[in-house]
Symmetry: C2
Subunit: 366 residues, 2 copies
Amino acid sequence: MWRYEHPTEILFGQGVSQNLGDYLERKNIKKALLIATNSLVKNGLTADIVDKSAGRIVGVVNGIEPNPTIENVEMCASQARELEVDYIIALGGGSVIDCAKAVCAVVAENYTAIDLMEGQDITKALPLIAIPTVSGASSEVTGTAVISWKEKNLKRAFTSPLLYPKTAFVDPELTYSCPNHLTAISGIDIIAHSLDSLGSVKSNPLTEHFAVQAAKLAFENLEAAVNDNIEAKDQLAFAAILAGFAFSQTGTTASHACSYILTAKYDIPHAEACAFTLDSWFKINAEYKPLLETHAKNIGYKNVDELVKELNGLKTKLGLRTTLEKLEIPIEDLDIIVQHSLEAANMKNNIAPVDEEMVRKVFLSK
Amino acid sequence: MWRYEHPTEILFGQGVSQNLGDYLERKNIKKALLIATNSLVKNGLTADIVDKSAGRIVGVVNGIEPNPTIENVEMCASQARELEVDYIIALGGGSVIDCAKAVCAVVAENYTAIDLMEGQDITKALPLIAIPTVSGASSEVTGTAVISWKEKNLKRAFTSPLLYPKTAFVDPELTYSCPNHLTAISGIDIIAHSLDSLGSVKSNPLTEHFAVQAAKLAFENLEAAVNDNIEAKDQLAFAAILAGFAFSQTGTTASHACSYILTAKYDIPHAEACAFTLDSWFKINAEYKPLLETHAKNIGYKNVDELVKELNGLKTKLGLRTTLEKLEIPIEDLDIIVQHSLEAANMKNNIAPVDEEMVRKVFLSK
């Protein structure tokens, strides 16, 4: 038995973000706060968006960090309260959208960011419009936000049907000016989400369709997109939606479970950290779930082995580090890394049962 | 640019309808009206469902006709008003679910069924739970209801985001006892919805993905399902969801436009009427939209020609009539049939421009 529900309205197409003003008017949204990345403030996109809102965007916050923190959430929430906004708009990558989701909950519930981190329930949230400027995290079509509490070395994922954006404006044009290394690493995130979803205990025929198509499109288009091919960038924006449709239902699994400590302790970017163990876990899961052989074919490869080999090749081509040594992680830290990975909640979500020895091997298998 | 939104929660799996009682309790639904097909009343399923509701289903209506009428809607609406229900549950095929959708609007708006037929807006609707007992119409996952006004020889389709069921319990077990001829003809409906969706001006990469997968599964499983293969029946239940995801967004096109008069005037079952011209329209649309060649491959055939040939073969195998003569429609009626087909709203939704001569040829091409 399985369940599927996906409440986000998706508006997709080159230039679709130009319609935001009309959308705000049509929905009678009077006071929105825009949470935007710094880089976009620089290139004028934020000003353009504010301009088109005809006064309906009453404030802009930026300065959200790559792994958004409780301080980022507090800063935005305080602005939202002061301006008494009824809507939040997020313009940026996954970090900005994740931060905005936490703000939606914190403001509606009258919580502090720490209340949220300490496990207070989400029973209401301000409505959110998500406008991604990078294709990868899929936060525009998921009900999850990941927030960091640096002081406690803690990173927590919140999931609620209330955190799905009401509407996602997926405008591939906004990704055209994305720096190539960011296109690369975010594109790898699409593959990580897809393969992780296929290896989830909650995977079902519908999410498998989405994950396979997402992985196929990402494998087919990632290199071209990094080389500035516009059509490939359009396809990645679409692939990110499909991946989001998959892992929003199934959650992520072992490669994500193994990534958190790498990001928290060694500052490895999220997608690179996931990619680090992704190929090994896909192979392990395929032994446990033979259907992954069929999926590997439908993704475009002869079998799981070929997919894994190609994934490894892609990682190298895109400049991702593939050994602990290259990550400059001392081998003495392995015990704590393995322990953290095993303790991550989504490790239990992995279809193949995982033990300490297995995780150790995966980290050393490069 | 395209838009996608699909608000229905889907619960899928053998036996999932057994959870209805828990669901009603969890959602605190106190007074629901069950609209159920006659055949199910006969086999005790309705009684079982009422039993499991622990008093939350306060009334049962049956007697809905294959093409539900304004009288059917009025009968159910009057029950719903009398019992002051807050929820409608539909248990049956597309006709029952369509009728229930109209009831949801009529009761919430305090309309008569004729108000609805005469074009009154739908601004609110009672929430609906749909439990399909046949795989085909996909009404459990669409926002459309088709109602007949026999006196005026009128069949009208209503579409609104408010008409999507809140939740669809898609329990393939309920289709296992479906008579074989009904399994066959409803399965053909899945193919008709998928191919029509692929030929829509509103088709987009996401709906095409759904339509291709739906058609593939339906072609692969329909004959086996008709021959009582349980797994094939499960696949058809899933295929119907995918087809609904596609045509709920794109609408239907030429084969549906050509079907209405066949059903209204000659009582040809809906899916048989759609199938009658379906192969011809797919071929015509493929000339206009070459991407359909790729889709034909992904559905599992060498090309459009082979798909069309197989579809024709399938129609014959399943006992569907493929000439006007076999339908016992006099050739003198062709003018009026062509005129009606051209006037149907979804004809404008067809990707290849259509003229009178073309429609005439299609009807005679068998």
